[in-house]
């Protein structure tokens, strides 16, 4: 009898091999975090913000997830002592806002440039000094103007260079089908909008794998994920002094304005810091940002991709004779099961072993690699696994039942449909086992044919 069940098992293996051979399905889709920083952050400080975000969202990520920093530097080479990194950041804000004002249209770059220089002129002409002329008392106005003009030209080039760099990084990181949930703080949304807009032009299919959530937003909009009906969201505190100032400045000069505040603190805080204000989940602003961020995660099509998180399938194939109740284990004549055991990296955890589970049944565990996420597309919302089972001659009934496990923090267990008594298999049974995932909910069915 044992040999017959081994034969059945081998038949299943043979049936699975075409799927197993699809090597491209062996890498589970992974959701990563991303962050673009605002002004006046060193790289370690920006990294600290990303670390804080990672701590708050850790439960939603797998062990394979990475945290990517799209760092935009605080200062620049050759800055010299006469021009602070803060001013350079302000120049970048003006230029990026000017570009947003013309919709990022390259044909309207001259218009953006005019707005940019108008903003610089207005800023430096402000009574008592604006952001660009203030703070360095040892410089004359003429010296400030000269340096500002020089750095304004450099800013245009640097912004282009850094945006291009962001796009390259996005392509490199997401080229394998992975996904990215990105947060942007302050000026970071201007950078993210520019880079993601270009990314979506260059690689529209990959851009669907990215969502963006903004905090303390200096931009006039939040980049929208292509093909998604749900908007990416932002959170800006009504007390955010930095954004309020930028908004007033942009409004007065006909530039695209940062969106209106949509959150507030329970106490009067004018703060702008990402960690202090927007990650503080004891306050409404922090709660709102984190809720938006997690909602963005939920909107990623990862939720509907079997290949991303499916790690484990157990199937019990139960044989019996006509008239036996296969749901009653005490009356099963025989059974065996096979398993696919995948760890987070898609590596086989256990290879074939046999155990007996009851006096009248033999239980066989067998492992397969990527078997169930097989097929042609690991990102598919539905996968069908053809089963072919060689039946012992005396068997006229067959039931398949089991569980499908989803790993990560979305752990689902779904009992696969029990088909009940079947007859007339003539020693072979053929069936399709289909597992689908929609809005994160797994369903499955077995159909004999």
């Amino acid at each position: 009898m044992k040999n017959k069940f081994i034969a059945a098992l081998v038949a299943i293996v043979v049936g699975l091999n075409p799927l197993i051979a699809t090597a491209s399905v062996c890498n589970p889709v992974v959701l990563h975090l991303g962050f673009t920083n605002g002004i006046q952050n060193t790289q370690p400080e920006a990294n600290e913000s990303l670390q804080g975000l990672a701590r708050k969202t850790k439960s939603r990520l797998s062990s394979s997830s990475r945290n990517y920093l799209f760092y935009h530097t605080k200062g620049r080479p050759g800055t010299g002592s006469g021009y602070s990194s803060f001013k350079l950041d302000v120049l970048e804000v003006y230029w990026l806002l000017a570009k947003e004002t013309v919709g990022g249209d390259p044909k309207r770059e001259a218009q953006a440039m005019a707005l940019f220089h108008h903003a610089i002129k207005d800023d430096t002409a402000q009574s008592g000094g604006g952001w660009l002329s203030n703070g360095l008392a040892w410089l004359t106005q003429a010296e400030t103007d000269a340096q500002t003009a020089a750095f304004a030209a450099a800013t245009v080039q640097n912004v282009t260079g850094e945006s291009d760099n962001d796009v390259k990084i996005l392509r490199a990181r997401l080229g394998n089908g992975d996904q990215l949930m990105m947060a942007a703080h302050s000026q970071g949304t201007l950078w993210a909008n520019a880079a993601l807009t270009e990314f979506a032009k260059q690689a529209p299919e990959l851009a669907t794998q990215v969502r963006l959530s903004s905090a303390g937003m200096a931009a006039s909009y939040v980049w929208q994920t292509p093909g998604s009906a749900v908007a990416n969201k932002y959170t800006t505190s009504s007390g955010d002094k930095v954004i309020n100032t930028i908004r007033d400045f942009a409004h007065a000069r006909g530039m695209a304005e940062p969106r209106e505040a949509n959150s507030s603190h329970s106490i009067s805080i004018q703060g702008h810091g990402f960690t202090e204000i927007y990650l503080d989940d004891n306050e409404p602003t922090g709660k709102a940002f984190l809720a938006n961020f997690l909602e963005g995660m939920n909107q990623l099509p990862l939720e509907n991709k079997l290949g991303s998180v499916l790690t484990h399938i157990d199937l019990d194939v139960n044989f019996g004779k006509t008239g036996q109740n296969l749901l009653d284990s005490g009356r099963w004549t025989e059974d065996f099961s096979y398993q696919t055991l995948l760890n987070a990296e898609g590596v086989v955890a256990v290879a074939g072993k046999e155990t007996r589970t009851s006096p009248t049944a033999m239980h066989v565990d067998q492992t397969f690699y990527c078997s169930f996420v097989g097929g042609t597309n690991p990102n598919a919302a539905s996968q069908t696994l053809p089963l072919s089972v060689a039946l012992p001659t005396e068997v006229t009934e067959l039931a398949i039942s089991g569980t499908v496990h989803y790993d990560g923090k979305l752990f689902y267990v779904q009992r696969i449909q029990n088909v009940g008594a079947q007859t007339g298999f003539n020693n072979w049974a053929f069936a399709n086992l289909t597992v689908s995932k929609t809005q994160g909910v797994v369903s499955s069915k077995i159909e004999f044919y």
């Binding site: 098992l9 090597a23 400080e45 670390q51 797998s62 935009h72 200062g75 066989v364 990527c370």
Partner: protein
């Protein structure tokens, strides 16, 4: 039966062996050909190698040669009570100090180096959070300690500025991925 299992297992491994997938190290977008000469061989006792007078001033007195200036070393010992967090903090301060020497030598920081530094930073933060919670010192506090002179601040900011969009990342388990601080 056993043979069947082994055969299947082997087939599967063969089918999947080419797809490591989520490797953090992709091609750096930073130029990889520094114009400065190779760093000199490390001198005994200093993890930064042979230092010029400028570099010596930046690094400061590091009696035990652990890459951390003595006064910052004392702060680490005082601030953290457990050896594990102290070690993580020391490594991260070593990295921060490294940035000044790297800057002085005008060597380009690669994405891989920045990844390693980020892992160290994340590991330090993880351990400090676990032991001190919200009272754990922030990066800005450590920066203020390490870069406590004009020259040190200038060197650090020059290093930061040189990154100019260099990507970086850290893993979900940073303390499992920390590595030695390289020669600057």
């Amino acid at each position: 039966m056993k043979n069947t299992a082994i055969l299947t297992f082997a087939l599967l491994l063969a089918a999947c062996s080419g797809g490591a997938g989520n490797s953090p190290s992709s091609a750096s977008t930073t130029p990889t050909t520094p114009s400065a000469p190779s760093p000199p061989a490390p001198a005994k006792g200093s993890p930064y190698g042979q230092l010029s007078s400028t570099e010596t001033a930046l690094v400061g007195t590091d009696t035990d040669g652990n890459g951390v200036r003595d006064d910052v070393d004392s702060w680490v010992q005082t601030t953290y009570s457990d050896a594990s967090t102290r070690a993580a903090a020391s490594t991260y301060v070593h990295w921060l100090t490294w940035t000044m020497v790297r800057s002085a030598r005008a060597h380009v920081t690669t994405s891989e180096e920045l990844d390693a530094m980020s892992e160290s930073s994340a590991c330090w933060a993880e351990k400090a959070q676990a032991t001190l919670g919200d009272k754990a010192p922030k990066v800005a506090e450590v920066e203020a300690l390490v870069f406590n002179t004009y020259a040190r601040t200038k060197a650090y900011l020059a290093w930061d500025a040189s990154l100019n969009g260099t990507p970086s990342s850290f893993s979900a388990a940073p303390c499992e991925h920390t590595s030695e601080v390289p020669a600057p």
